[in-house]
């Protein structure tokens, strides 16, 4: 009794017929059925015969476009340097040295966060 070829051997046999397996596969309904599936899968995945209406694709692209998140722009470094230079002296004037330093630090931390991940600023 001939053993069934394993799955790799059957796949190879479907691509390049191997005389070693030909007699067995021809007489074995299980192996023939498996070979039939192996041979048909590439044709099954071929979608060349399907025509998708162009209007449908365009309408889809319009829907996707309307949902597309606009490209997030990172705030410029100059903006935050300017903000820090303004916030520092302002805090100093209003509340003294500690408040000036605190204001400066807050702006610098906000700048770092915004530069690393702008979504925090935009999306909250």
């Amino acid at each position: 009794m001939t053993l069934h070829p394993d799955i790799d051997e059957l796949i190879e046999h479907a691509r390049t017929p191997n005389p070693k397996f030909a007699a067995h596969v021809g007489g074995c309904s299980d192996c023939s059925a498996v070979l039939g599936v192996i041979a048909r899968v590439p044709a099954t995945m071929n979608s060349e015969h399907v025509e998708v209406p162009e209007t449908l694709v365009r309408s889809l692209m319009g829907r996707i476009e309307s949902q597309r998140t606009p490209e997030l722009e990172r705030p410029s470094v100059a903006t935050f340097v300017l903000a820090a230079l303004t916030a520092g002296p302002f805090g100093l004037m209003v509340g003294g040295a500690s408040m000036g330093t605190t204001s400066l630090l807050i702006v610098l931390v906000a700048a770092l966060v915004a530069l690393l991940e702008p979504r925090f600023i935009r999306e909250g």
């Binding site: 790799d8 192996i38 979608s47 015969h49 399907v50 025509e51 889809l60 829907r63 996707i64 998140t69």
Partner: protein, 175 residues
């Protein structure tokens, strides 16, 4: 091959190209579950919107087509369940062929068999479908498929063997 990082990004031209390349496949999936032409078009758009929203979940370990088919099938099943139009679908399937244009290269019987196989493939477990498409459609070796799927070669063999046997049984039922 689809680059998951580019897919995840906001590159309009890249996603548009993906839509162009894979729309026939999605259209076929939608056609297998639709009750009429309008419903097929709705499903087609619904599937793509899901793909757009969930594109970050494609990790690139298996074929993109397998991931698309799974997303498409899930969207369609959820649609059928919620829409309660199973009866209309059955009536439609009984009266109209699923494909949109005749294929000059294959006979109707061949086309029907391929459609039946496509239906059966939609019902395969995700890992089996990935393994089958890698080995049989993309023609990569067992070793390469194992590396892509992060499993052992023996696992790939087992997944392909189980899937192919399942498909063969389903095809016999169709005959």
């Amino acid at each position: 091959m689809i680059d998951p990082i580019k897919l995840r990004g906001n590159d309009r031209s890249y996603f548009d190209q993906v839509v162009r390349d894979f729309s026939p496949l999605i259209y076929r999936v939608a056609g297998r579950y639709a009750s009429d032409h309008a419903s097929r078009d709705d499903l087609f758009q619904e599937i793509w919107m899901h793909v757009w929203e969930r594109r970050a979940s494609f990790k690139g370990t298996g074929p993109f087509a397998a991931w698309l088919m799974r997303v498409g099938r899930n969207v369609c099943i959820s649609h059928i369940r919620s829409d309660a139009n199973r009866l209309r679908r059955e009536q439609f399937m009984a009266t109209e062929p699923a494909s949109t244009s005749p294929d000059a290269l294959v006979t109707l019987t061949d086309r029907e068999q391929l459609d039946a196989l496509f239906d059966a493939m939609l019902d395969l477990p995700p890992r089996e479908l990935e393994a089958v498409l890698l080995r049989l459609d993309e023609s990569v070796s067992t070793q390469q498929a194992a590396e892509r799927m992060h499993v052992k070669p023996a696992t790939v063999r087992s997944l392909v063997r189980n899937a192919v046997h399942r498909l063969a049984v389903d095809l016999r039922k169709e005959e």
